[in-house]
């Protein structure tokens, strides 16, 4: 829909088209994007204090240890906070879309977007599961759908 149309709670949330700008990985996030391309959601766990760490870190943000090991997430979590955007960041994005912070069951938070439901279905505490959708240059982007 165009930004001028009146938003309603019945609008369905879908993945963005593959034409949005792809992510620009940093030196220490490459393993995350390589796993995502295989449709695997990964995070780091601190060998010393066992904290689950995201986004990718150089040292544990709690204890400072350098030994962080990549681990695979089951991709299950709950919505911690959400919004619905009706004015796109840039024209390649299709509105509405729903950025959300997800509490992953492994004990970390990540920003993503919720799809596969109506706007009116969004709620804090909603159970969700990860799924991946392609973007340019071979990247895949994790989204979350009501579980």
């Amino acid at each position: 829909m165009s930004p001028e149309s009146a938003p309603t709670g019945d609008d369905r949330l879908v993945p963005q088209p593959a034409t949005i700008p792809p992510p620009t990985p940093s030196s220490h996030s490459a393993p995350y994007w390589e796993a995502a391309a295989r449709h695997e959601l990964v995070y780091q766990r601190c060998d010393a204090c066992k904290r689950a760490e995201f986004d990718p870190a150089v040292v544990c943000r709690r204890c400072g240890a350098r030994a962080l090991t990549w681990a695979r997430s089951a991709g299950l979590g709950t919505v911690y906070s959400w919004t619905v955007v009706w004015r796109p960041q840039q024209p390649s994005f299709v509105v509405p879309y729903a950025p959300a912070i997800i509490d992953l069951d492994e004990g970390y938070q990540m920003l993503a977007a919720v799809i596969g439901c109506r706007v009116a279905d969004l709620a804090v505490g909603l159970r969700v599961a990860v799924e991946f959708h392609p973007v340019a240059d071979g990247f895949a982007l994790p989204y979350f759908r009501p579980a």
């Binding site: 938003p7 992510p23 620009t24 996030s29 994007w33 959400w82 955007v85 004015r87 938070q109 990540m110």
Partner: protein, 387 residues
């Protein structure tokens, strides 16, 4: 002895602000702002021996200030604090803090460039400033039942302050009711268009001086009673969670960023929230006013929504807010000038020179900048009485 006893806010100036300043550049606006603030202080460019702000290097050259102490603090209150410390420690006598922006936001199909850094973990989800702050507001609504009407009351109050201010970009656009705010189109739920800052062009400048250098100021001197800055991390690169904390698991969460800064500012000043007469709060989005009242200790956690109702924040209320119309109606001239303009309005309130929304007899002003959606929040306390 108070650390800023000898630091006086000598001059302030807002040149013309507009949605688009035809023919202007960021530098030309900053030059106008700097010269205006010096004139306001009764000083000459040759009196300046320090300058900070994002354009300080260009201003040093173009205004022929050199050799001069120069820094590049860019975000409003941190720059004022740096300039004040420079004078308080005897390293400079007259320091300019200047900002200006024009001709930067031209591609209007996208949100403004400073609202959307291209960071790998936020940009692919279409994030920009309004969505970042919406994630903070939504969490507060969930925890405490904060309502759309409470947030819209904030927006109507700030926009109506701008409606009557002749120099505000949105002068005469109102008045707005709560229903008007809620009827505007949704930008990033829960924020309607009229709950969001505008985008514009503009600039401003402040001149701080050692008190004995400016014994015959044209205006009443205004003093720095205290201030501090809170940072949690870089803006718009990590998930803006309310509960984001540093290493201390019991530390202040991002949702209350600014609390540590407010405590330090009040401690330096020897004051508390009840001593404040006017709150020139940073208003990027309606909810941020509610959050800052809680973070700064004006009310308890979760009480900010009810706190802003019943006239407390409006004209004649106990804590009038953002009396020039703020980022919603006065100006939001890019990345930095609107952060400094909260301080300028606080100075005008304490001088008693506001032509609109003057708080009669104001002795103490609290000015702020930043917000939880951007992982920073700064506080400055200004006073009419020398500390």
């Amino acid at each position: 002895m108070h650390p800023f006893r000898d630091v006086v806010v000598a001059g302030v100036h807002n040149p013309r602000q507009a949605r688009v300043l035809e023919g202007e550049t960021s530098l030309s606006v900053a030059i106008d702002a700097t010269l205006g603030a010096l004139a306001d202080a009764g000083l000459d460019v040759r009196d300046v021996d320090g300058i900070t702000g994002s354009l300080s290097s260009d201003l040093t050259y173009e205004l022929g200030l050199g050799p001069v102490w120069q820094s590049a603090s860019a975000l409003g209150i941190p720059a004022v604090m740096e300039a004040a410390a420079q004078i308080a420690t005897g390293l400079s006598d007259v320091v300019v803090v200047a900002a200006g922006q024009a001709g930067v936001y031209t591609e209007r199909a996208s949100t403004a460039p400073w609202t959307r850094p291209n960071h790998e973990f936020v940009a692919p989800y279409g994030m920009f400033t309004a969505a970042e702050f919406a994630l903070i507001a939504r969490r507060h609504m969930h925890m405490y039942g904060t309502t759309a009407e409470q947030m819209a009351t904030v927006a109507a109050t700030v926009r109506n302050n701008g409606h009557v201010h002749p120099d505000a970009i949105y002068a005469g656009r109102g008045p707005f009711t709560v229903d008007d705010i809620l009827a505007s189109r949704m930008v990033a739920d829960p924020f309607h268009l009229l709950e969001c800052a505008m985008t514009s062009e503009g600039g401003c400048a402040i001149v701080l001086a050692r008190a004995d250098r400016v014994p015959d100021l044209p205006h009443a001197p205004v003093w720095i009673l205290g201030g501090s800055t809170d940072r949690i991390g870089p803006s718009y690169r990590h998930a803006p969670a309310w509960d984001l904390r540093g290493r201390d698991p019991d530390g202040i969460p991002n949702g209350y960023v600014g609390r540590r800064a407010a405590r330090r500012a009040f401690a330096t000043a020897g004051l508390g929230p009840d001593d404040v007469d006017v709150c020139e709060l940073y208003d990027p989005f309606s909810f941020e006013i509610i959050r800052q009242f809680e973070a700064f200790g004006f009310c308890g956690e979760g009480e900010g929504g009810p706190f802003v109702m019943d006239g407390t924040i409006g004209p004649g209320g106990r804590f009038p807010i953002t009396t020039d119309g703020g980022l919603m109606a006065f100006s939001h001239g890019g990345q930095t000038s609107q952060l400094l303009q909260r301080v300028i309005r606080g100075v005008q309130q304490l001088r008693g020179t506001c032509t609109t929304m003057q708080v009669e007899g104001a002795e103490v002003a609290l000015c702020s900048g930043g917000g939880a959606g951007a992982l920073f929040n700064d506080v400055l306390l200004l006073g009419r009485e020398r500390p």
